[in-house]
C-alpha cells in the first residue's frame, strides 16, 4: 500500500499548492486596479481626505504581500475582513448563504447522480437504438441551453401555467424540511437537468470505452452470461471513470448554481457574489471566489483520488 498512499499524498499536496496559487491570483488581481481599492470604490468625486481615511482603515499603506498573508491567514480561520459597502463582517454575510448553496447543490446532486448513472449505463448498453438517439439529442439540447433558459421554461410551465411549485425560492427560518424541499424544487430541477445531461453523456462514453476492451470480449466469447459480464468484469473497472464523472460534474454544479440562484432569487452565495461584483465590494468578491475555486479544486482532487483508490491495478501492486 506504500505506493498508493504516496500517490494520494502527492495529489493532495498538488491540490494544496493549486489552492495557494489561486488565492495569490485572487488577491493580487485586485491590486491590478488603476490606483487602489480606496480610489476605485470611492470614485472620482472623493476628496483626498476620505480616500486617505479609507486607505488607513483598510491598511493599504502596508506592502501588498504583508496584506496577502494577513488575508490568507484570516481566510484560513474563516475571517475575510469587512464588506466595503455595508460594513458587515464578510464571514457573517457568507456563512448562512453558503449553507443554503450547499443545501441546493446537494439536493440536486442526490437526485441527479443515480438517475444519470443509470441512464448512462442504459444508453451505453442499448447504444445506437432509437432510445439512445433520442437521449443523445435531448441531452445535447439541455447542455447547449443556458441555465436561465431552462429555469424560465420550468417557471413558466410548473409555476405559472400550472401552479405546482413556487417560482421564487425565498427561504425563512421557520420552514419544515418538506416545505424547504418543495420551495427549492424548481432550482433543483434546473440544476438536475443540466448536470444529468453532462453526467449521462460522460458515463455513456466511459462505459462504451470499457465494453470495447479485449477482456470484456474474452468474457463474452467464453460464454459468461451477460449480467455476469457487467457485474463481475465491467463494473470493477467502471468505478474509476464513474467516480471521476460524478466529481467533475459536481464541480460543474458550482458554476451552474450562480445563474440558477439569480433566476430563482435564492439566497445563496452565488447571488451574493453577483451583487458584490455589481457594487465592486472586493472583500466579498474575493471571499466568494476563493470559496468557489477551493470547492472546485477539492472536487477535482476528489475525482483524482477516487479514481486512484478504485483502480484495481493500483490497489494490488505487483
Amino acid at each position: 500500500m506504500g505506493d498508493i498512499t504516496r500517490l494520494i499524498l502527492k495529489r493532495l499536496g498538488l491540490g494544496l499548492v493549486t489552492i495557494l496559487v489561486v488565492s495569490v491570483l485572487i488577491f493580487f488581481a485586485v491590486e491590478l486596479l488603476p490606483g487602489d481599492i480606496a480610489q476605485a470604490v470611492l470614485g472620482q468625486g472623493a476628496t483626498e481626505e476620505t480616500v486617505a481615511a479609507m486607505r488607513e482603515q483598510l491598511g493599504l499603506d502596508r506592502p501588498a504581500f504583508v496584506r496577502y498573508f494577513d488575508w490568507l491567514g484570516g481566510a484560513a480561520t474563516g475571517d475575510f475582513g469587512v464588506s466595503l459597502v455595508s460594513g458587515e463582517r464578510v464571514s457573517e454575510a457568507i456563512s448562512g448563504r453558503f449553507a443554503h448553496t450547499l443545501f441546493l447543490a446537494s439536493y440536486a446532486a442526490v437526485i441527479a447522480v443515480p438517475i444519470s448513472i443509470l441512464l448512462g449505463v442504459f444508453t451505453a448498453l442499448y447504444r445506437n437504438t432509437i432510445f439512445d438517439r433520442v437521449a443523445n439529442v435531448l441531452t445535447l439540447s439541455t447542455i447547449s441551453s443556458p441555465e436561465f433558459f431552462l429555469g424560465y421554461i420550468l417557471i413558466l410551465f410548473l409555476a405559472v401555467r400550472v401552479t405546482m411549485f413556487p417560482a421564487i425560492a425565498s427561504l425563512s427560518s421557520d420552514m419544515t424540511f418538506l416545505e424547504l424541499l418543495h420551495r427549492t424544487f424548481l432550482p433543483m430541477l434546473t440544476l438536475v437537468l443540466v448536470v444529468t445531461a453532462h453526467m449521462m453523456r460522460m458515463t455513456r462514453a466511459a462505459i462504451i470505452n470499457l465494453l470495447a476492451s479485449p477482456y470484456i470480449e474474452m468474457a463474452r466469447l467464453k460464454g459468461t452470461p451477460p449480467w455476469k459480464v457487467i457485474v463481475k468484469h465491467a463494473l470493477p473497472n467502471a468505478w474509476a471513470p464513474i467516480i471521476n464523472v460524478v466529481a467533475l460534474n459536481l464541480a460543474y454544479l458550482i458554476t451552474g448554481v450562480v445563474l440558477v440562484e439569480v433566476v430563482f432569487v435564492y439566497p445563496g452565495i452565488g447571488q451574493l457574489l453577483v451583487d458584490a461584483v455589481a457594487k465592486r465590494d472586493f472583500p466579498i468578491v474575493q471571499a466568494c471566489c476563493l470559496i468557489f475555486a477551493a470547492t472546485f479544486i477539492l472536487l477535482n482532487l476528489a475525482a483524482d483520488v477516487g479514481s486512484i483508490l478504485t483502480n484495481p491495478r493500483l490497489r494490488h501492486p505487483k
Binding site: T18, V21, V22, L25, I26, A29, V30, L32, L33, I130, V137, L140, S141, I143, S144, S145, P146, E147, F148, F149, Y152, I153, I155, L156, A159, V160, R161, A167, A251, I254, T255, V258, L259, V262, V263, L273, V274, A276, V277, A278, R280, F282, V285, Q286, C288, C289, F292, A293, F296, I297, N300
Partner: protein, 354 residues
C-alpha cells in the same frame, strides 16, 4: 371526443400501419409508442395536451423537411468533393447548418432586416404583439423583433471575437510549446493549469469586478479564460506531429520555429482544431450570455440576448413567453453548432466504421 382527437388518432394509427407494412421497424416503434403515450396524455391532459403533441410533431417535421431541403441545396451548389461529404451528414447536422446560416444572414444584414432601430422606442412598455411589432414591445417599448435581429449581430459578434482571440492565443502558445518544448512548454502548461482550476464564470466575475464591464474587457477576459482549452488540444495534437520524420527533416534543414509551425504542423492539425473552434464558441457564447444575463455583459441600450432575458424576466410571472424568445435564440444557436460539431467529430474520429 372532438374531430381533432379522432383525426389525431386516425393519422397516428394509419402512419404506424404504413410503417409496419413497409417494414420500417424504427419508424413503426416510434409512431406506435407515441400513440400509446397519447392515450395516457389524452386521459390526463385532454385534447389540449394532444394538440401540444401534434404541434410539436408538426414543428419537428417542418424542421426535418427544412434540413433535408437545405442539405440538398448545399449538395447542389458545392463542388463534387464537398458534395460527397455533405451527403453523409445526418439531418441534425443539416439542421444545424441551416440555423447557423440563418443567424449569419440575420447578423450581417441586421439593419436592413429589422423594421426598427435597436434603441428606438416605438410603443408602450410591454406592448402586446400586433402587425407593427411582431413580438411586442420590451420594458421600454422598443420593438422586440428588431432587437432580436440586432442581438444576432451584437451577441454572436462579441462571442465570435472572444473565441477568435482565445483561439489565436491558445493555438500559438500550444504550437510553440510543442515545437520549443523545455521550460516554455512547462511554463505554459502550468499557467493553463492555474487558469483552468478556477470555474470560468467565477473567474470572469472576479475580473469584471476589477476591470469594469467594457466590451474590450469582456473579450479579453473571456479569451484568457478559454484559451487554455485550445492550448491543451493544440499542444496534444501538435505533440504527435512534432515527432514525425518530416518535421525532424525540416528541423535538420535548419528551418526556424515559425516555419515549422506554419508549414509543417498547422496544415496537419486543422481538422481537430476546427471542431474545437465550434465547441469553444459554444462555451464562450454561453459564458457571455450568462454574464449579460447577470447584467455584467454588453451594456444597454445595445441589444443583446442575455440582457434582454433579464430585462423582460418579470413578464414570465404573467405567463408571457417574451423573455424565453432571446433565451431560446441563444439555446438554438448552441444546439445547432453542437449538432454540426458532433457530425464533424464523428467524421474525423473514424467511428463510422463500427
Amino acid at each position: 371526443m372532438s374531430i381533432f382527437v379522432i383525426v389525431y388518432y386516425a393519422a397516428l394509427i394509419g402512419a404506424s400501419c404504413l410503417a409496419a407494412f413497409y417494414k420500417q421497424r424504427g419508424v413503426f416503434m416510434l409512431i406506435f409508442s407515441l400513440t400509446l403515450v397519447s392515450f395516457v396524455l389524452g386521459i390526463i391532459g385532454g385534447a389540449g395536451a394532444l394538440r401540444l403533441v401534434a404541434t410539436a410533431a408538426g414543428v419537428l417535421a417542418l424542421a426535418a423537411g427544412t434540413s433535408y431541403a437545405f442539405r440538398e441545396f448545399l449538395i447542389q451548389i458545392s463542388r463534387p468533393n464537398l458534395a460527397k461529404e455533405l451527403r453523409t451528414a445526418p439531418l441534425t447536422a443539416a439542421f444545424g447548418m441551416f440555423v447557423i446560416f440563418t443567424y449569419a444572414i440575420a447578423g450581417i444584414f441586421a439593419p436592413w432586416i429589422a423594421p426598427y432601430g435597436e434603441a428606438e422606442v416605438i410603443g408602450q412598455a410591454f406592448a402586446p404583439p400586433d402587425q407593427n411589432m411582431l413580438l411586442g414591445g420590451d420594458q421600454l417599448g422598443r420593438d422586440m423583433f428588431s432587437r432580436i435581429i440586432f442581438g444576432a449581430r451584437n451577441s454572436v459578434g462579441l462571442a465570435l471575437m472572444a473565441t477568435l482571440l482565445a483561439f489565436v492565443m491558445g493555438a500559438i502558445a500550444g504550437l510553440l510549446a510543442a515545437v520549443k518544448g523545455g521550460w516554455f512548454d512547462q511554463l505554459m502548461g502550468r499557467i493553463a493549469d492555474v487558469i483552468m482550476s478556477i470555474p470560468s464564470l467565477i473567474f470572469a466575475l472576479l475580473m469584471l469586478s476589477i476591470f469594469g464591464t467594457g466590451l474590450q474587457v469582456i473579450v479579453i477576459v473571456v479569451a484568457v479564460i478559454y484559451s487554455p482549452r485550445v492550448f491543451r488540444l493544440t499542444r496534444a495534437v501538435a505533440g504527435n506531429i512534432v515527432v514525425m520524420d518530416y518535421v525532424e527533416a525540416s528541423k535538420l534543414r535548419g528551418e526556424g520555429d515559425w516555419y515549422l509551425v506554419r508549414k509543417e504542423i498547422l496544415p496537419n492539425a486543422t481538422a481537430p482544431l476546427i471542431a474545437e473552434f465550434g465547441l469553444e464558441f459554444c462555451f464562450v457564447f454561453l459564458l457571455i450570455a450568462g454574464l449579460s444575463f447577470l447584467g455584467l455583459g454588453i451594456q444597454p441600450p445595445t441589444a443583446d440576448w442575455g440582457s434582454m432575458v433579464r430585462e423582460n424576466a418579470t413578464l414570465i410571472s404573467f405567463g408571457d413567453i417574451t423573455p424565453l424568445i432571446p433565451a431560446g435564440a441563444i439555446a438554438l444557436l448552441t444546439v445547432a453548432i453542437n449538432f454540426v460539431v458532433d457530425w464533424m467529430l464523428f467524421r474525423t474520429s473514424g467511428l463510422k466504421e463500427q
